[in-house]
């Protein structure tokens, strides 16, 4: 959990208070805090004078606008057919072993969340994962351990 403080107000000043300001405001909150808390969504609704259900409806449509608590680093493993055929399942179980969490879960220290995602456009270098905004490709169980350990050291 985080406190939005003045963030939503500042973002409304920056992006405006029209209906079309909703997406950039939500994106900026997620950029800063990784996910949207209920309080943040209610604050956005209040600023824009729209309903909180509408804000949630918009957020829930987009995979990258999370409404559940997420760790500092969000790992998204591509689950689409090419990555699946090229060993995505091994990648997932390797990550699950290192972090001791299942897909959909967050580590107790809130450092990592492990998710699956639809195609991220790296089929030619499958299997691929995304950590925050950074893609990692041509992975094997060995190389993915190094990638994750790199983030653990950060």
């Amino acid at each position: 959990m985080y406190h939005t403080g003045n963030l939503v107000k500042e973002l409304a000043e920056k992006h405006g208070r029209k209906r079309e300001s909703l997406m950039p405001i939500l994106q900026d909150i997620v950029k800063k805090h990784n996910y949207l808390t209920d309080d943040a969504m209610v604050a956005v609704a209040t600023e824009l004078d729209i309903s909180a259900a509408e804000v949630y409806g918009t957020a829930s449509f987009y995979t990258f606008l999370d409404t559940e608590e997420r760790g500092k680093n969000i790992i998204r493993v591509c689950k689409t057919i090419t990555c699946s055929m090229k060993g995505k399942n091994d990648i997932v179980s390797t990550i699950e072993d290192i972090l001791k969490i299942k897909v959909g879960e967050t580590t107790p220290d809130k450092m990592f969340t492990l998710l699956e995602t639809n195609c991220i456009g790296w089929c030619h270098k499958a299997p691929a994962i995304l950590i925050n905004d950074m893609p990692y490709t041509d992975l094997t169980p060995e190389t993915v351990i190094d990638v994750i350990k790199g983030y653990m050291r950060k």
Binding site: D38, M41, V42, A45, T46, I50, S51, A52, A53, E54, V55, Y56, G57, S60, F61, T67
Partner: protein, 593 residues
């Protein structure tokens, strides 16, 4: 004008008319589901597809405006096949346990399925594998996602008519659904329980929570004395569910039917509507005196009416700072409930714990209101069960009563006598008109200066109405109001209520008294009224209400002999100690989502 052909028949319609409406003009029926006359076009269910010669794909008749020379076919092989697939695809995601469903035989999807008479379905049934939830948290209605076809009538209703948007579309693809803020229970969000969505849902996804069985149990329990009250708007709409055209008044037959159902006493909410006028009128005059003359700002102006429980919940969520502006009067239903287990029990010498108090309401929010913890002034739950107009029609059918052949009878006495002022509570502007009929006469000793007491400026279907009444010839006690202009406003439908509330909160308007009803047209357009609804149907119900008023011997609340008697025998005086104990209430600030 635009000329086009539909099924080889030529028709001329105004530019901008949809293909659907042009077809209607020719008597050609195109099936619809997501379309509703009160709502904007959605075009998402695709049931209304028709073929346009020369067009590559089928078009949605509800969303397509006509164009010159169009050649439309509504019943070609291509259309029939497509429509059949569309309906079947909708059914593949709809839990079709029709015989167990509350909407059985009243479901628009079922009607379509019937028309297209399916044998074996060709699509997989996807309902079984989906973890659908049924939200039973509200005392007023159920939300069953397994029956939802995502036509979004409810979403549009909640946004466009009510400015609440307690529900919106969430998620996407096969996970798309209609949800509240972060899927919270409907009882824990901004939902006002108005039931407008329930009234427009084409399937059984949104239905009122029914208490029919509980009421039957009470009736069959010989140990219980079951009293029933009927709201003003029920008598002008009940007929619609029993084979009558909209706008038929069935008051007398309804009273007979209720007696035949086995209620021990058939009484009238209009009686407490009259009582509300005495309490609320007095409260208004007191507030005017305190604020305008004594400069005592402990009381707030303008005063909002408080009869509509949907409006109450709306203001509690959205404008909590204005709660002091709400009249403290309970709604007529709750005044009735509080008196049934006190005054009525004493007079009839019945143990109040043995009384079961039932009300028949055009409203789903009344179910919620009856459940509010404040509504126990009698020491018991003041109202035990609330049934909608629709539920009463179901009971009448269950009992095998041939409604058409019933002889009309009168309400029982003791809280059964009412005036035309009580009746018009059922239409937007009615509470205002009833209040003015009484308040003006208290202040000036003369009837309101309108022909036949019909205060026409406050009537009609405009979303927001305003009127100014000049007060002249005041009696001594109210001399300070001499020459004053009483400014009033009326809004119906929460989208209009919001406009007025916003203007008041920003200090942009200068009203003294504001009537607000949560539903379009007032209670006659309530969420518990017969389905379907439309502007024309509501207009007919409104005409019926005013005609009922004109046919009453007494048309001013302060002339209701039972109201005068109850003050003499029990309540002492309006806004007196006992009234405050039983007939007034308080409000609670609620979350904004």
């Amino acid at each position: 004008m635009v000329t086009l052909k539909i099924n080889d028949q030529e028709v001329k319609v105004a530019a901008g008319t949809t293909v659907l409406d042009a077809a209607k003009k020719l008597g050609v029926n195109i099936p619809t589901l997501c379309n509703h006359p009160d709502l904007c076009v959605a075009g998402n269910c695709r049931v209304c597809v028709v073929e346009q010669t020369g067009a590559r794909t089928l078009i949605a008749a509800c969303a397509m405006p006509v164009s010159e020379g169009m050649d439309i076919h509504t019943n070609s092989l291509k259309v029939r096949n497509a429509r059949k697939h569309i309906v079947e695809l909708l059914l593949s995601e709809h839990r079709a346990d029709c015989t167990k469903c509350y909407k059985n035989q009243k479901c628009e999807l079922q009607t379509l399925a019937n028309e297209y008479s399916f044998g074996e379905h060709i699509f997989l049934d996807l309902v079984e594998d989906h973890p659908y939830a049924i939200d039973r948290s509200s005392p007023a209605f159920l939300k069953d996602d397994s029956k939802c076809i995502r036509c979004q009538r409810c979403v549009r209703t909640c946004a466009q008519l009510q400015h609440v948007s307690a529900i919106a579309v969430s998620h996407k693809g096969s996970h798309m659904k209609i949800s509240s803020f972060h899927d919270r229970p409907m009882s824990h969000v901004v939902c006002t329980n108005c039931g407008q969505c329930v009234n427009r849902c084409p399937t059984g996804a949104l239905t009122e929570k029914t208490y029919i069985d509980q009421v039957w149990d009470a009736i069959y329990d010989t140990d219980k004395h079951v009293v029933v009250q009927t709201a003003p708007a029920v008598r002008v709409a009940l007929g619609e569910d029993l084979g009558y055209d909209p706008g038929e008044r069935v008051t007398g037959k309804m009273v007979t039917a209720l007696r035949q159902l086995g209620f021990d006493s058939v009484l009238d909410t209009d009686f407490t509507a009259d009582l509300t006028i005495m309490e609320e009128g007095t409260e208004l005059l007191t507030r005017l005196k305190k604020v305008l003359v004594e400069n005592d700002h402990s009381m707030a102006l303008p005063m909002f009416t408080s009869c509509s429980p949907g409006w109450i919940k709306f203001i509690e969520h959205k404008y909590p700072k204005m709660l002091p502006n709400l009249s403290t009067c309970k709604s007529p239903q709750q005044m009735f409930g509080a008196l049934a287990k006190t005054f009525y029990a004493q007079k009839r010498n019945i143990d109040p714990s043995k009384i079961v108090s039932v009300s028949i309401m055009p409203c789903t929010a009344k179910k919620y209101e009856a459940d509010r913890p404040e509504m126990r002034s009698s020491g018991y739950k003041d109202i035990d069960f609330v049934l909608t107009t629709r539920e009463l029609a179901v009971m009448i059918k269950q009992a095998g009563i041939d409604f058409r052949t019933l002889e009309p009878t009168h309400y029982d006495s003791l809280m059964g006598t009412s005036t035309g002022a009580g009746v018009i509570f059922g239409a937007t502007g009615g509470v205002m008109e009833a209040a003015l009929r009484t308040a003006y006469e208290i202040v000036t000793g003369k009837p309101v200066p309108f022909n036949n007491l019909n205060i026409t400026p406050v009537r009609g279907m405009d979303g927001v109405k305003e009127a100014t009444i000049k007060i002249e010839g005041t009696v001594d006690e109210w001399k300070f109001l001499e020459g004053a202009e009483l400014k009033v406003a009326i809004a119906h439908g929460l989208v209009n209520a919001n406009k007025v509330a916003k203007a008041v909160s920003k200090g942009k308007v200068n009203y003294h008294f504001i009537e607000i009803m949560a539903c379009p047209g007032g209670c006659l357009g309530g969420g518990g009224q017969p389905i379907p609804t439309s502007a024309e149907i509501r207009q007919k119900r409104m005409e019926a209400i005013y005609s009922e008023d004109m046919h009453m011997d007494l048309r001013k609340s302060h002339e209701n002999p039972e109201v005068l008697a109850i003050y003499k025998e029990f309540l002492e005086k309006p806004n007196g100690h006992k009234s405050h104990e039983l007939l007034h209430t308080h409000y609670i600030e609620r979350e904004s989502y």
